[in-house]
Subunit: 457 residues, 2 copies
Amino acid sequence: MTEGALDYARDHGPRFVEDLKELLRIPSISTLPEHAGDMVRAAGWLRDRFESLGIASRLIEGSGPPLVYGEWLEAPGAPTVLVYGHYDIQPVDPIDLWSTPPFEPTERAGNLYARGASDDKGQTFTFLCAAESLLKAKGSLPINVRFLLEGQEECGGKVVKEYVQAHGDNLQADFVQVADSGMYAPGIPTIETGLRGVVYTEVRAWGPAHDLHSGLYGGVAPNPLIGLAQVLADIKDRDGHVSIPGFYADVVMPPDSVLTSWRALPFDDAAFLRDEIGASQLVGETEFTPLERIWARPTLDVHGITGGFTGSGAKTVIPAEASAKISMRIVPNQRAERIFELFRGRVLELAPPGIQLDVALVHGDDPVLVPDDSVYVQTAREALHDVFGRPAVMGRSGGSIPIVGVFKEVLKLDTVLMGWGLPDDNLHAPNEKISLENFHRGIEATVRFWEKLGQAG
Amino acid sequence: MTEGALDYARDHGPRFVEDLKELLRIPSISTLPEHAGDMVRAAGWLRDRFESLGIASRLIEGSGPPLVYGEWLEAPGAPTVLVYGHYDIQPVDPIDLWSTPPFEPTERAGNLYARGASDDKGQTFTFLCAAESLLKAKGSLPINVRFLLEGQEECGGKVVKEYVQAHGDNLQADFVQVADSGMYAPGIPTIETGLRGVVYTEVRAWGPAHDLHSGLYGGVAPNPLIGLAQVLADIKDRDGHVSIPGFYADVVMPPDSVLTSWRALPFDDAAFLRDEIGASQLVGETEFTPLERIWARPTLDVHGITGGFTGSGAKTVIPAEASAKISMRIVPNQRAERIFELFRGRVLELAPPGIQLDVALVHGDDPVLVPDDSVYVQTAREALHDVFGRPAVMGRSGGSIPIVGVFKEVLKLDTVLMGWGLPDDNLHAPNEKISLENFHRGIEATVRFWEKLGQAG
């Protein structure tokens, strides 16, 4: 039974890639207002695709890019999966570091390069290809499927959260499936059992009422860029510890059995440093392993600082204001709201002389844990074993997929997180790509997963 | 005899202002390569002006905007002054804070608003107006005058320095006169007897080989923005002290007699804070008065930081690199070269784990002291007393006019620094202006100064 759909998927694999390229050519960058029209184009493309497969679809409008909803509910008695993905992508700067243009999808050495190839258009599209393979080969799907694709994942996901909270009745299902994560390494399938949360903030600093000449006022005028630097240095030390009182109070490390299994995973510090980071050394809390630091420890990063003069040459200005984008990754049992309050309080307390600070929350999401003993996770493991010929790693991700927490909280649903990215996919960076082998195997894995669930039912 | 030239200056004052507006309309921003053509236009405008007055003039080409040279040497036996000024200006950003466009000179409430109105086109132009008044009223100048106007003062002044060093013979004179400074307060004429030097640097920081996703790598990847912040916080503390070992070793404070005279000047901390700084408090070394901090103490400022994502919204990137523009103001007997070496050494020493740093010198200039007992300074004081009806303040400037040090070192000439700016002229900031009364009095003061020197000779 499965073979028919798998054969279809294999036969049509090259065309699936060409179809994906169409979607990748749409620069649907949700965080930049000038791309609002592209968000609508990408959503429309997906809706049309559902319709062409015979999956009823509609756009759900909200305060931002629309949600694309699709449903096929003609398998009475079988489980219902709520499939989630996102069609929005990250900005592309620095654009000059791309080897080929981010919106001209290009195949090289078994990879497809384009912004969104992995995060998350390419992975989201595997669901549509799996559904097409099953529908075309068999005339039906083995389980009921609801698709909910959003266009705001990279900038807070307000619309989808509001929709789930207000219209959860329309999303009744037995579990959620998401492909917006990665494999532990090439050939090693992975199910994520936990995700860090995030608290994304913007800190603004004011000094003089207007820009001043540093010759005429240097020595008496407060400098907001130096002020921000002093605050930053005081909230994260050189050993990677976040110096905010109470920050670590609610951190609960995984049980020893989990930590032991992580230490059994193949991990080569030197290769990781060389191949993925490319810096002179790994940093952070040396009392934890690198995997623990990424999967189970909170941290803090600065993403950008504005203010003053940044053109070529020299301008001797003391700027009137400056700002920094700062985020924290948080872990169980930290809560985004509490961490933001601790952060805000500490930053304000650290204001240097003459500097006034304002701390704004851009978005915040709690961390998530997924129980690994459900029938859905166990069936997914079987499907992965069939496709990849080896057991899946039960790991975690340091990244955040905020909606997973919302599904749990509002719909009481756990999520099967199996994804097709690789560590070197350059997410959020120049030269993003997806492994085409992983793309095809991802389609196969979902075909097998849904078939197994349908047979069990 | 003087009255004829002063009458001419007064009668033609309004036209002088209109002529200055022509020069101010040329956006000769030396630090931005796209304005190279405007540099040539501004230089040509000045050369034509000299020629129209019967002052022989030529452009001196070098690796950058040309120097404008003019000379009138037909007063045998009289002293020769080397007049210096600059026709280049600072960038105009943030452009949206200008009440009227920076290159549409606009009169409001006795002031002329435009980029360069005070620094330094407006002040430089007073020399041309003084020369015109004398030449038209009397047919000759009372002393010999060489004019040397450069177009690179705001970005290091390489061309003029090279020219003075290579062709000092062409610039033989008895003293230098510069109008690129301010008056202590409205109605209070001022001669500067010292200038701080400057060491302008750029520090670049590298972490990962490419931009990384902060979710997937936060906790192990070095962040160059945080690294820069940690370095900055470690080289300047919250009390305004520069924390570089040896930084203050060569600082020599002025003699007590000078400090006492400074303390006798009218200075209202609260009014200074409110009217000029506009911050919540003055900062810096509290063991020194604000005037001492600006006129006689070294300091350090950050002018801009780049790296990462600074658009609207949220991007969770750990940038591969970041950079900061950092300058130090230095005082007698600090030397730019030595201070740069101390700065560079300390910054490199402070590199946080995983961060690689590079420190480049953008430009460096030594501080300058001017003896206040020369016949030129004393005659300038008399001229100022005549025009303003009160004695001149003998002060200092916290700003730098690097060429003054070169004139001293290469040509062995001291400089009479009397200028027509005011503390609220918004130098290097939006809404730069010059007081039209000061502009006219500046022309008169130079007419009287040169007349007095001619009569003495």
